[in-house]
Symmetry: D2
Subunit: 166 residues, 4 copies
Amino acid sequence: MKILFIQTGGTIDKDYPKQMKNYAFEISEPAAKQIIERVNPSFEYEIVSLLRKDSMDITKKDKRKILEICAEADSDKIIITHGTDKMIDTAKFLSGLKNKTIVLTGAFTPEKFTNSDADFNVGAAVGAINIVGKGVYITMNGRVFKYDEVKRDKITGKFVSINNFK
Amino acid sequence: MKILFIQTGGTIDKDYPKQMKNYAFEISEPAAKQIIERVNPSFEYEIVSLLRKDSMDITKKDKRKILEICAEADSDKIIITHGTDKMIDTAKFLSGLKNKTIVLTGAFTPEKFTNSDADFNVGAAVGAINIVGKGVYITMNGRVFKYDEVKRDKITGKFVSINNFK
Amino acid sequence: MKILFIQTGGTIDKDYPKQMKNYAFEISEPAAKQIIERVNPSFEYEIVSLLRKDSMDITKKDKRKILEICAEADSDKIIITHGTDKMIDTAKFLSGLKNKTIVLTGAFTPEKFTNSDADFNVGAAVGAINIVGKGVYITMNGRVFKYDEVKRDKITGKFVSINNFK
Amino acid sequence: MKILFIQTGGTIDKDYPKQMKNYAFEISEPAAKQIIERVNPSFEYEIVSLLRKDSMDITKKDKRKILEICAEADSDKIIITHGTDKMIDTAKFLSGLKNKTIVLTGAFTPEKFTNSDADFNVGAAVGAINIVGKGVYITMNGRVFKYDEVKRDKITGKFVSINNFK
């Protein structure tokens, strides 16, 4: 099994700025790298840093870049780390790709925080990608969703199933 | 979706002893609790602390207890956190259970360490249990294995497939 | 020995916002509380949450509040956690207080980060306040400075001695 | 200001063993290195790894080695990280050194744990060594003690003053 990890940015990769008089975060190295190194994986992998953007700033051109790198990848298993706000949008954009298994994930709290959900979420994406068939998926909040069966809860921000039966 | 988490002990739950003149670790609260709280899950769950043992110390009687609690559980999705040394043994012992999905996981480094693999591994177990059918599985080192298709690498201690093709 | 800890805000207390579509940090509970609890101190202490502001936003009125609470404190040993950008300003403002030992400290990376300097810096402040006489001090970057003998290095942002001989 | 850090081992440096079927901890790289790197210090320093022992295993010969390296050090400010059980013994052993400032510290929970007291304790040692005169000191539990004014509380294991007035 070989997995290609693609960094696009988002909360998972946010770090505290080193400069003076700075309020906001900055997007740093791919968190997936740190996470996978902690795991000592029994699979091959490659990590590509494609974008370092908050997902609110991801443009149509950026999404085309993501689609392109997925389409051309050797590996048929791809995990994309992505900001949570536009993760569903990008998942839908990629849904035309029929011969790949693509899982998008991210985090609500940056990987560099002691109480981050990043390791768990990347773990869930890897757990899912071992098994699921071709298609585009999102793993957040401990659930594995097809790209067209997921929405955000407007109050909590959690990723939930579009139907409440699951 | 509802998941029952069963604590049996092992490295994942190890904490540093608070007493003086103590060398070894002690097994503490279920790490799964801390991990799941960080995630804010979109699933229901329950955590049962059944055993707090290093897996080298798990007896046949202990394994029967684990089997019993699995057989009688309301939930048909069960994640067992377990020491790595005897994880495969316990998985085999449980393989007679046909109407449940059981995933065993654990950690090489305790959850209380900054560089732990615990969050990732529990994430992988949760990712897998969303999808896999009835049966008994192990998720370690980023792989999802059927209970009878996994072994330890004798040099690295990693969980690997019994055949090298996967 | 009794120490009064006063929270004013700053990087040390920054947490990742829980709301959707938020870029910046928010100032949370006093980090000093978490830090001191980890230490199991052999001293008495009290923690007061006075302000939760980035130090760039601290007004003259805020500084008067800080001065007042210091002047009226029962304890003659006071540690103020403060944003780094205006820490020296506030230290100078407090320098009229002659019958107290006041140490200001903070962090370059929030306490909630795995690679934070917060624990060390609060430790250095506590180590210093065991010993130093009445007066106003800053402990940052592993140094204990009198309020009027410290400046920021313009390039690195580090707190350094105003003379290079120390 | 230049500080020499000497590693002797103890809880502060303990790591989880990487081998299979291992219960106990092993003593790893000097924790002081990680801690000081997080701080970006405004002082010069050197770290020497002299011993990697639990303090229960430190022999008279080991103590002589520690004394020797202290006596011969260029720096007159020395911080020794040490196991807690025999820290006071070693401090007493070093008390003949009159022309150095020596501070011993350590931790109750290894530096590699998320809830460690190691960063704070090393911070307190550094804060103290900025100020205190020649002599041998211990900084633990947020207190700076002279080598002959400190004892362990028999129930809690905390370092406390031999008289209760301080």
